[in-house]
Amino acid sequence: MNAYVGTPTSRVDGRAKVTGAAKYAGEFPADGLLHGFVVEATIPCGRIARLDTSEALKVKGVLDVLTHAKRPALADKDEAWKDEVAPEGSPFRPLYDDTIKFNGQPIALVVAEDWETAKFAATLVRVEYEQNSFATDLEGERSNAAEMDKPHEPRGDAAAGLAQADVRHDAEYVIPTEHHNPMELYATTAVWGGNGKLTVYDKTQGVQNVHKFLCGVFDRKPEDIRVISPYVGGAFGSGLRPQYQVVLATLGALALKRSVRVVLTRQQMYGLGYRPMTIERVALGARSDGRLDAVTHEAIAVTSRYEDFARNDTGWAEQLYSSPNSRFSHKLVHLDVSTPCDMRAPGAASGVCALECAMDELAIALKLDPIELRLKCYSDRDQSENLPYSSKQLRECYARGADAFGWSRRNPAPRAMRDGKELVGWGMATGVWEALQMPVAVRIVLTSNGHAEVSCAASDIGTGTYTIVAQVAADALGLPIENISVRLADSTLPQAPVEGGSWMAASSAHAVLAAAEEVRKELLRLAGKMPGSPLADAGLADTVLIDGSIVRSSDSSRAVSIADAMRHGNIERIEKEKLNQFDEDKKHARNTHSAVFAEVKVDEQLGVIRVTRIVSAVAAGRILNTKTGRSQIMGGVVWGIGMALHEETVMDHRFGRIMNANIAEYHIPVNADIHDIDVIFVDEPDAHINALGVKGLGEIGIVGVPAAIANAVYHATGKRIRRFPITLDKLLD
């Protein structure tokens, strides 16, 4: 029964959030709570020659200053520091030794009775360094780039294909480093429970990941540490790996045997992960009719000296555009910076941006409409795997999006459309992301009064997991949504991976279904044993739960209420936990797709750019909740506008320091930058992917948006900007 799934159900946690009842990691109270403030390194590379904490320790209210030289034990093996999603390499260990690996690295934690005292005392910690030579500039060091594993095997001979092509486009696109800047600051409250046990309230996308990590780093037994993270004020990938403040708060609690809270400042958060800067070369060769002969996509990305962070920037053409020849490469440059991390649509946001700008440039060279070019080389197969898609309604996205946007009225010539002092540009791009799914376990406790508690360790990072879990459970259990309470993000709850990759909606929904089936099985067993039971001979597959009863699907007059079944069975509650695994489907490629259309208006004299319209037509299987789903896509679109026009982490490479580490100078769009955003969900039935046909929406919303805008800016002005963000100075002259 589908009373809730597929409807625009409002967030079940919305009220708690807007009234302030929802507590975040840095808000949990604890008796005798202490506050830690982080002292950061101000050089990018070298070692600490002297660290003098004596003045800080003299401040009234300061209990201790933890440093590499003075702290409880930390694991000394990389294995302990490698979390569920750690890249290759040797993970960063805060306060481990005297080496400095990046600017902003934590080098001491001042612990005091209150935050202001800790913050003040932190200014009194004296540090002397032995500085080593260093490099932080990707462009300056690009000749030192080293090849990673190939994202995809080459097919055919891309170089020869390019050489023989009728029309070629070959250019480099530069995407700067960007920071997530979630609204909530990174924070941990480590609550000391006596006898060495800790409850750790942490801002994270994966409580069980943090739990396992802490147990390893501090050599504790699983039952000694519990990690809880009921609400997360945005993370966007920055919370997939345990962040250093969770280590520091735990270290403080263990050192002082008291509860310790560490909240990072906005500035300090620029010492965490980020979207790595990339230089992306895309070379396309086509026949004069628009069919592709060759695709080459090479990326050079920044990573730290100690870990190889790499994502699939380059392989997306294999999914989108059929070409007999293709070659992809992803190179890394190791620099004296912290390790990058996932940021909304990692790899795709940057790589598809480059690819889709290049496709636009190719369309212009071919004198083809950009949609027509994409349809000419539309691929019904994932070429690298040589597999058909479980579903792919991208053609429909182009058609519906173009129609809603009014694309047919576009004059293809650049600078041909204007509105007063503004040049008008229309651009489009394709978006693509993966439809992943992971094993998740869910526990359902159904009580005879018709209430159910549904629990799982998964996080809701603002994406709406609480709500879709409640919707799916309400439908599967045949109860009103008000009767469902959802508990998430506690490491003691049933197993879940980190919340990322757009896999949580499909994964948690099917785990709910699996657990609900166990509940129904039990109800059927109880109902079947009732004297004269109308369900005595019913098979499980022939039953559903509707309106508080277990009902025979083939004959709805045969039903037993949940209350009756449980009363007869003489039980108050049914508790079932089930781990859901997806059958590995090796016959299909699984992706979500979108077509993004952008209108920009550019002041001809001043270069000021406004994105006046975006239409995003998305094919992502079945949409569990059209309201939270739409919000998710809108958020991605707004971020895509920022990526196109505003976002850039600026570093002075003489110091290896970020010079705009605050949200006054690191620009993201504000209300005045946002105009019409139209989200269209294209119907995409999918019989292969999973029972509900769900694919996930977390990342697809941003992919393609920056390219659509860049293409629109070209259409408006005749200027092709390949270095993002597109700021007005790049359009003057």
Partner: protein, 338 residues
């Protein structure tokens, strides 16, 4: 943040007494700039003298038909004050172009005049900066200087003054009233801020122990032909790359009086009397406006990343003067440049 003492001034005389007694003391009004700088350890006052409750919140008419604005009038009250909206809409517009609604509710007139540069090196105590620590060097000159000054720079500092309000005040010919240990004095706003020279750590000519008590507007408000246009990296809530306050008096299509002040290009609001007098008596045409722009930008010099500012300033000057001449001032509420 450092440890500091806190006193609440009973009246202006008390504030001055407290300031004089402790050379490390700082006044605090709305705190929107000072607290930020304290959190970054850029400002480390030994004492905060809270003046926010002093009775300097009035906007009063002066005998000669101008207005006197108390130093503690919040930016939002100023922008929405009926007398300002009617008689000095250029000032209202400039204030609304700055910061955000929340910040404007807290920010005071005095604090706005005293706000410090947004140069990233000034904020980062791990880098050299002559303004923050005199003699340490200027990191911006050979560093990241996209948003730095092109006029009136020195070999010691190329920072800009970030205030929008001051740009309009400069154009309107405002006066700054100060009180200090040796009594009250008044200066033209255009003489209040300094060029960096070899003392970039001194932003203004406010003397030791002195505070701003009021800003005075002369009677002429240019309420018909004016515009404030701020060009920035996003449509709102960003500091100016270039801003222009333009005010004209027209006799038919002939300019009888002209004021043009630039923001985002220098260590102080930038005016050129030469440019303004060149406009007087001329027709209000794009040619005249671009001639004035050339005069305003005479002697401009750029650094590695801000070369675009000269051309941007030139075009913004012409646009703003055009808006002013046609009595179609830039709206600060529309999501669009007129």
């Amino acid at each position: 943040m450092n440890n500091f003492q806190y006193s609440r001034a009973a009246d202006v005389a008390d504030a001055i007494r407290l300031l004089t007694a402790d050379p490390g003391a700082k006044l605090i009004a709305g705190g929107t700039n000072l607290i930020d700088l304290m959190k970054e350890n850029v400002e480390r006052p030994s004492r905060l003298i809270d003046i926010s409750r002093l009775p300097l919140r009035n906007v009063e008419e002066t005998d000669d038909g101008g207005l006197r604005i108390g130093a503690l009038v919040p930016n939002s009250d100023l922008a929405y004050h009926p007398l300002i909206e009617q008689r000095y809409p250029l000032l209202a517009s400039a204030v609304l172009a700055g910061a955000s609604a929340q910040l404007r509710n807290m920010a005071s007139v005095g604090g706005n005049l005293m706000q410090r540069t947004r140069c990233g090196y000034f904020y980062d105590t791990a880098t050299p900066c002559n303004k923050r620590s005199p003699g340490s060097g200027c990191s911006a000159i050979h560093g990241l200087n996209r948003n730095h000054a092109i006029l009136g720079t020195s070999a010691s500092c190329i920072a800009t003054n970030p205030s929008d309000m001051s740009v309009a005040l400069a154009a309107l010919g405002a006066l700054v009233h100060m009180a200090g240990p040796s009594g009250a004095r008044t200066t033209a706003l255009t003489d209040f801020h300094r060029l960096p020279g070899d003392t970039p750590h001194i932003d203004t000519n406010l003397g030791a122990g002195e505070m701003i008590t009021a800003v005075e507007l002369p009677p002429h408000g240019f309420s018909h032909n004016y515009s404030y246009l701020k060009v920035r990296d996003r449509l709102s809530y960003a500091f100016a790359l270039v801003s222009v306050a333009a005010a004209l008096e027209l006799d038919g299509n002939t300019i009888s009086e002209a004021r043009v002040a630039l923001g985002g290009v220098a260590h102080k609001p930038w005016r050129s009397l030469e440019a303004e007098s060149a406009l007087r008596g001329q027709p209000a045409t794009a040619d005249q406006f671009s001639r004035a722009a050339d005069l305003l930008l005479q002697g401009a010099s750029t650094s590695s990343h801000n070369g675009f500012k000269i051309e941007l300033a030139r075009r913004t000057i012409v646009r703003t003067l055009t808006q002013a001449a046609s009595a179609t001032p830039q709206s600060q509420a529309h999501k669009k440049i007129a």
